[in-house]
């Protein structure tokens, strides 16, 4: 009746435990798991608490990537000055999750593994081209975030795998970006629509708009829009039409499908206008 809690001291030990106890859940910050357990919906019998494993709470920069350990708290992602400088889109999305108490506890790995369609960070991470590192006893693999979210609260994590890092490439340079979160009830509630936008710059200028949506489909979703030679209005038109294709909202107490579709358009437009302002001379 009382669940088993394992506290491995190494990643290898954690992976072995996960293999032995197939039903076991990896326990990060616990902000999502605890709620489900309390509600009596999730009846977990074993948990593998990975907080004691050294090295999982590190933020490091390589030439190619920002690498974030799974036990890094959302609050650190929000407050890190280096991240704000290089990936302000990520900082602003992490800053909008729930409240400081949750952000101080919730972890980057748990947030991704949760796979919920309404979470804020995945939307920004999709635009940033992030990938997830999954480690099992015998292998390590990297999954682009675009392929990671499979379906409604279903991710690509296989049995025996643990999220061991989220990596953001340094090669994608965003000349302007913005994350917009719109709630329909309390201002501090989950979004009914969220949008992240990045105006991707290469040597020839800004030719591509990266767009991701949260709370508007069964998973966070993303698309790119070719905006070569488009002005703001044309960019809005092209992006909104792309966004409409991505949207497949779920009706609930926070709003009907119709309402969420409207709100989704507002979020996209607001995010694009705001990102556009950051581009010098309208690129």
């Amino acid at each position: 009746m009382r669940p088993n809690v394992f506290r491995p001291q190494s990643l290898q030990e954690a992976c072995s435990l996960l293999e032995e106890h197939e039903e076991a859940l990896v326990y990060g910050g616990g902000t999502a798991l605890q709620i489900l357990l309390k509600q009596g919906i999730l009846v977990g019998s074993s948990f593998i608490d990975i907080s004691g494993i050294p090295g999982l709470a590190e933020i490091s920069f390589t030439d190619d990537f920002l690498r974030v350990g799974p036990m890094v708290t959302l609050r650190r992602m929000e407050r890190s000055e280096e991240i704000r400088e290089l990936f302000s889109l990520a900082s602003s999305a992490y800053a909008k999750v729930a409240n400081p108490r949750v952000r101080n506890t919730a972890t980057v790995g748990g947030n991704i593994a949760h796979g919920d369609y309404r979470l804020d960070p995945p939307v920004a991470l999709l635009v940033l081209g992030a990938s997830v590192e999954l480690t099992s006893r015998n292998s390590i693999r990297k999954v682009p975030l675009e392929e990671f979210f499979v379906d409604f609260q279903v991710t690509d994590i296989s049995a025996g795998e643990i999220v061991t890092a989220v990596e953001i490439p340094r090669s994608i340079h965003l000349a302007g970006s913005s994350f917009v979160k719109l709630s329909s009830l309390s201002a501090n509630d989950w979004p009914s629509a969220s949008a992240a936008v990045g105006l991707m710059e290469n040597d020839n200028g800004v030719h591509t708009l990266r767009l991701a949506l949260g709370a508007l489909a069964a998973t966070p979703v993303m698309a790119t829009v070719d905006i070569r030679n488009l002005n703001l209005d044309q960019t809005l038109e092209a992006s909104l039409s792309k966004a409409m294709e991505l949207m497949d909202p779920i009706a609930d107490v926070r709003g009907s499908v119709k309402y969420k579709l409207r709100l989704g358009r507002v979020a996209v437009e607001e995010a694009i206008r705001s990102a556009w302002k950051e581009v010098p001379n309208g690129r």
């Binding site: 039903e23 859940l25 999502a32 798991l33 489900l36 509600q39 009596g40 919906i41 999730l42 009846v43 977990g44 019998s45 593994a113 949760h114 796979g115 919920d116 379906d151 409604f152 609260q153 279903v154 991710t155 690509d156 994590i157 296989s158 049995a159 025996g160 795998e161 069964a218 779920i250 009706a251 609930d252 107490v253 926070r254 009907s256 499908v257 119709k258």
Partner: protein
């Protein structure tokens, strides 16, 4: 929750009607249904089980046909209880069949009540799961009707009805075989609601 939707089948109404009343076929069509037996012309009973990552659920249900107008209309009430999750379900389904040149149009309405722990869980999760199950159910029915006038290949159906989560082959396969014209808020049959517990699921 209410849903109303319609789809078309390339079979005549009386055949479709038989399919709906055949427990052997219906057992295959209702996702997660382990057994379904006819008690008398108007009463059925059965069971639903599923093992989802961490929770094994097992519910008995009873179904009663409350309206029967062969081959035009059928209305049934299904009620069940999951003791472990302290939840009850009641689904009122009505199907109206209308002949069309080479087959028939099926209009269906479902009124779903879900009480107890699962009921308060968060509508979005329920709605999402039910629409998945609805798709599975409809595709299975369509397939069952199209497959054969008499013999249903259980093996093939199992593939279609695999309780494994989606998106699976079967679902993609079926999309071009029928048109669901539901309203935008449409939700579906709810048996596989139980899956929602599986928020942290991993592929096996």
């Amino acid at each position: 929750m209410q849903i109303s939707s319609d789809f078309s089948i390339e079979s005549d109404p009386s055949h479709v009607f038989d399919i709906f009343l055949d427990p052997k076929v219906m057992r295959q069509c209702i996702p997660g249904c382990t057994d379904l037996e006819r008690i008398d012309d108007l009463h059925y009973q059965g069971g639903l089980t599923n093992e989802v990552a961490h929770v094994k659920f097992s519910a008995r249900f009873a179904a009663e046909i409350v309206e029967l107008d062969r081959p035009n209309r059928i209305k049934a009430v299904l009620s069940g209880e999951d003791r472990r999750l302290g939840s009850s379900i009641k689904v009122t389904i009505s199907l109206d069949l209308k002949p069309r040149d080479t087959g028939c149009d099926v209009a269906y309405q479902m009124e779903i009540a879900l009480w107890g722990k699962l009921g308060r869980l968060g509508e979005s999760i329920i709605r999402r799961r039910t629409s998945e199950v609805e798709r599975d159910f409809v595709s299975a029915v369509v397939r069952a009707c199209n497959e054969s006038q008499a013999q249903i290949s259980v093996g093939e159906l199992s593939a279609v009805l695999s309780p494994s989560p989606l998106p699976d082959e079967a679902q993609r396969l079926k999309v071009d075989q029928f048109a669901v014209n539901g309203n935008t808020d449409s939700v579906g049959f709810l048996v596989r609601v139980w899956r929602l517990v599986n928020r942290f699921r991993r592929k096996k």
